[in-house]
Amino acid sequence: MTVLVALGQAVLLAVLAPYVLGITRAVRARLEGRAGRRLGQPWRDLRKLLRKPPTSPSDASLFFVAAPPVLMATSLLVAIAAPFVATTSLAGEADLIIVVGLLLLGTVALALAGLDTGTAFGGMGASREMMIAALVEPTLLLSVFALSVRVGSTDLATIVTAGATDPASVFTPASALAAAALAIVTLAECGRVPVDNPSTHLELTMVHEAMVLEYSGRDLALVEWASALRLTILLGLLANLFAPWGVATELTPAALAVGTAAFVAKVGGLAAVLAAGEVFAAKLRLFRVPELLAGSFALALLAVLAAAVLG
């Protein structure tokens, strides 16, 4: 039963992910006074790309070919194991540290693929993406520390269950600081404004898009899909860690239905907020990004100290 729930959760996230992307685009278009595309447009793009054969650059090796499946597989593993709809996840325990590690593995695979193409833009994107990933890592793990102090475990299901059963425990200064830190980190990890602009057309300012410039056909479909999935995963984690209401703590059909509905609503809402925020923000210069991430690091450190001092 838990296996079925876990797989179902992964399917739900995989299906939902392009719509999350669709929501951000639609909200953004509306706020900018455009009609925008339909919510399902990212799905149609994926379907079209999946049918097309991919092209490998002549200098590229196995690393280029392997990166999209690795990215997709790591994202799917997180989608299977972490508590999004229900806290009774597959192995009974999905560790927050390994979730961080799996997402980083996907980033690394894509960065190596960017270098593997032998193009200047590929290398540039890889170099910048890895710089951001290196600076994000300490903040992520410190936020993990702050959250785990509350329940004495880095196990995601334990943290989420504690929040779902005792909602008051979520509203602590430590939680608020950790939430702020994690929100900034989510923006950086997903390549959103102000760290990176997902809809940019200027190669020199690209980070994530520069790495994947050489991908085409179903490779590109996998990369785009996995990126949308990562956005959904991080928004879902943010929602469930700091607003764990509605998450199914037992495996009854009713609880699962409520959990699914709550999850979709929370992620959809966060995506809309994210898009609305992007309209009013400008992308930072690349070398101002470390300052932003240093700020999030300071927030995370304060969160840990608050958790230790205030209990």
Binding site: T55, S56, A73, G101, L115, T117, L140, T154, A308
Partner: protein, 672 residues
């Protein structure tokens, strides 16, 4: 006679046979003979180490082998663990040397170098089984001298090799003097030279003496481990020595510094005070951060790996330091967890660093350069080396499913739960340590992406890289063996837990099985579980499934020239190099690294407005070295210059000096 005695005897005998045969044998098969004997000696040491770590005790006293004190040997689980690591690395390096040293003449294939290799391996094995202060010191010095001579193997090729030798000799002898003073002081205070006597008498040693002995031991052992600020020998010696020697030094020898600290601090001195371990943890944190920052911006592939050794040793020392602090805070469970994480990381580091140094050695042998800016494109010419190096890099970057991730996970778990009544120092130190481990992991990922991406992928950026050929089979086999060790440690780390529990309970921290409950498949600590096997299976099977499913959907892949946004035909000069890849990080850490840059602009003869050529040169110096060692060396040099009149050439004066020195020693010796 038990299995430890038999296999240790075999290991020693095979090593001595290797040395003797290297001197006697002809040059055509010398490398194969010595390599095979060294590998067998290592394999025997693995058996001995596994048996000792499994709880088989053994001891031996040979009273007449050394004057006055004799030789005392013994094994316990702690020495068995390190013996196991050393044996495994020796076996890999022995096999590797068969191919690597097969070119005759000056260099790694020379008679001296090959004769010293088994002797170095034997001295590495002697240190953890030494059971008295004199035996330990003899083994330590033998290890220092043989490794120094091995570092100097290629002294004719470059002045940098001689420079590396001088740095290594100076710092290792400084450490030896500190150890000599510290351990003999301890022996005299505790009333005996054998470890059993010191253990028994440790309670009578006053706390000031014990603290000073620990600090002296810290200088000697942490210096050998390559911890900041005693590290300047490490990037030089690791980079300039032949690659199998680099692997032995990095994967085996520096671990003995960790062994020494554990033996001295926990075993002989019985735990000590909290400030000892706080200093050790601080040294570890500084080494980890400084090492990985330098590694991230290094161009030389072996220098990068050497700084990464500093980083990993730093993480191990951080774990040991926290183990000591937890023990002092009355939390033996957390202490055992931290120590277990440190010991497991030592094993993981041995496995992946042996793989990485042998991989780097293959690259150096095939291309003749260590400069990653001039490499690239090796993935087609050297597929086996590339894949193996990438596997090692995955482990070294502490990414799942690599083995480095498992031990860093354990280390983080031990730091995440300092316990409810840990005290102010631990409450503040633990989050800082988590941030250090996380920052190290983050920058480590950049470092190894750079190494694989710019060193092996894309197009070759020099003729020599373009002409590279795959290494001979023996070298590939050695790398595969190291890779298999990494896989085993990544998939079933639980198998090591009984040995770790035995060590921690030996060091009076916590009973077996109380800290890390491990089945074959899972590592379970206080409130979290890691499923290493399922992680590996999930990632590998998931990737394969996605790839197969995507392929089934559509048509076959095509190859075409890279698009690169419609730019013209690409040349390798447009690629990102190691330097350009690390540039953003270097710019962020500008204040820490302080790179030295020169830009020479040559103008055209006709007009100053036209630029004919621009030369850019950049060097990233080791700032700790510049700040601490350069003034020190300058002061010593001027002192030497000023002391010159003392050496007048008169024999009578020299005899007078000797008399004065003798009198001084006698007075100092009699006074207390």
């Amino acid at each position: 006679m038990n299995v430890v005695a038999a296999s240790l005897g075999a290991a020693g005998g095979l090593a001595v046979a290797g040395t003797v045969l290297a001197i006697l044998s002809g040059r055509s098969f010398r490398a194969a003979l010595v390599g095979a004997l060294t590998a067998l000696s290592g394999a025997a040491a693995v058996v001995a180490g596994a048996a000792a770590a499994g709880g088989t005790a053994w001891s031996l006293v040979v009273p007449d082998l050394l004057p006055l004190t004799g030789v005392e040997l013994a094994t316990d689980p702690l020495s068995g663990w390190f013996l196991l690591l050393i044996g495994a690395v020796t076996a890999v390096c022995g096999i590797y040397a068969i191919g690597y040293a097969s070119r005759q003449g000056h260099g790694p294939g020379s008679r001296t170098s090959l004769a010293l290799l088994p002797l170095f391996a034997a001295s590495l094995m002697l240190v953890p089984v030494a059971a008295s202060v004199p035996t330990l010191l003899v083994g330590w010095e033998l290890m220092a001298v043989t490794s120094l001579l091995l570092v100097l193997t290629e002294h004719r090729h470059a002045p940098a090799v001689r420079d590396a030798g001088i740095w290594y000799a100076a710092l290792t002898q400084l450490g030896f003097v500190a150890l000599l003073v510290g351990l003999t002081w301890l022996a005299s205070a505790a009333g005996g030279t054998s470890f059993a006597d010191i253990r028994a008498g440790a309670a009578t040693v006053d706390s000031v003496t014990a603290g000073l002995v620990f600090l002296l031991g810290l200088v000697g052992f942490a210096g050998k481990a390559g911890a900041v600020p005693l590290h300047p020998w490490l990037p030089r010696a690791h980079a300039e020595s032949p690659s199998h020697v680099s692997a032995l030094m990095s994967a085996a020898m520096v671990k003995l510094g960790v062994y020494g600290l554990l033996r001295l601090g926990f075993d002989l001195l019985g735990g000590g005070a909290r400030w000892w371990w706080l200093i050790l943890a601080a040294v570890g944190a500084a080494s980890a951060l400084y090492g990985i920052t330098q590694a991230a911006v290094a161009r030389d592939i072996k220098r990068m790996l050497a700084f990464s050794t500093s980083e990993n040793v730093g993480l191990i020392l951080l774990g040991v330091g926290f183990a000591g602090m937890y023990a002092q805070a009355g939390n033996p469970t957390a202490a055992a967890l931290a120590l277990g994480a440190a010991l497991l990381h030592a094993a993981n580091h041995s496995a992946f660093k042996a793989l990485l140094f042998t991989g780097a050695g293959s690259v150096v042998r095939a291309t003749g350069t260590r400069d990653m800016d001039r490499l690239g494109g090796l993935v087609r010419a050297m597929p086996a080396t590339t894949v193996l190096f990438a596997g090692g890099a995955l482990a070294a970057a502490a990414l799942p499913p690599g083995n480095g991730f498992v031990s860093e996970w354990l280390l983080l778990q031990s730091l995440l739960h300092p316990g409810p009544d840990a005290g102010t120092v631990l409450t503040i130190a633990a989050p800082i340590a988590v941030a250090v481990v996380a920052a190290t992991a983050g920058i480590g990922v950049v470092t190894y992406v750079k190494a694989v991406g710019t060193g092996f992928l894309a197009r070759p950026r020099s003729d020599r890289a373009a002409a590279a050929r795959e290494s001979p089979p023996s070298m590939v086999v050695a790398m595969v063996l190291a890779g298999l060790a990494c896989v085993a440690l990544a998939v079933v780390p639980g198998l090591a837990v009984p040995a770790l529990s035995r060590i921690t309970s030996d060091l009076r921290l916590a009973g077996p099985g109380e800290t890390i409950a491990a089945s074959t498949l899972a590592l379970r600590v206080e409130a979290a579980t890691l499923w290493p096997l399922w992680t590996v299976v999930g990632i590998v099977a998931g990737t394969a499934a996605v790839a197969v499913a995507a392929r089934a959907l559509g048509r076959a892949r095509r190859r075409a020239p890279a698009w690169d946004c419609g730019g013209g035909p690409l040349t390798e000069r447009m690629e990102y190099t190691a330097t350009s890849f690390a540039e953003p990080l270097q710019r962020i850490f500008d204040n820490v690294l302080a790179p030295e840059q020169d830009v020479d602009v040559t103008h055209a003869a006709e007009s100053r407005y036209h630029v004919a050529a621009i030369r850019f040169h950049q060097r990233i110096p080791d700032r700790i070295e510049n700040r601490i060692y350069r003034p020190l060396v300058a002061a010593l040099r001027s002192l030497g210059e000023r002391a010159r009149p003392l050496a007048s050439g008169s024999v009578h004066r020299y005899l007078g000096y000797m008399l004065i020195a003798l009198l001084a020693v006698l007075i100092v010796g009699v006074l207390p």
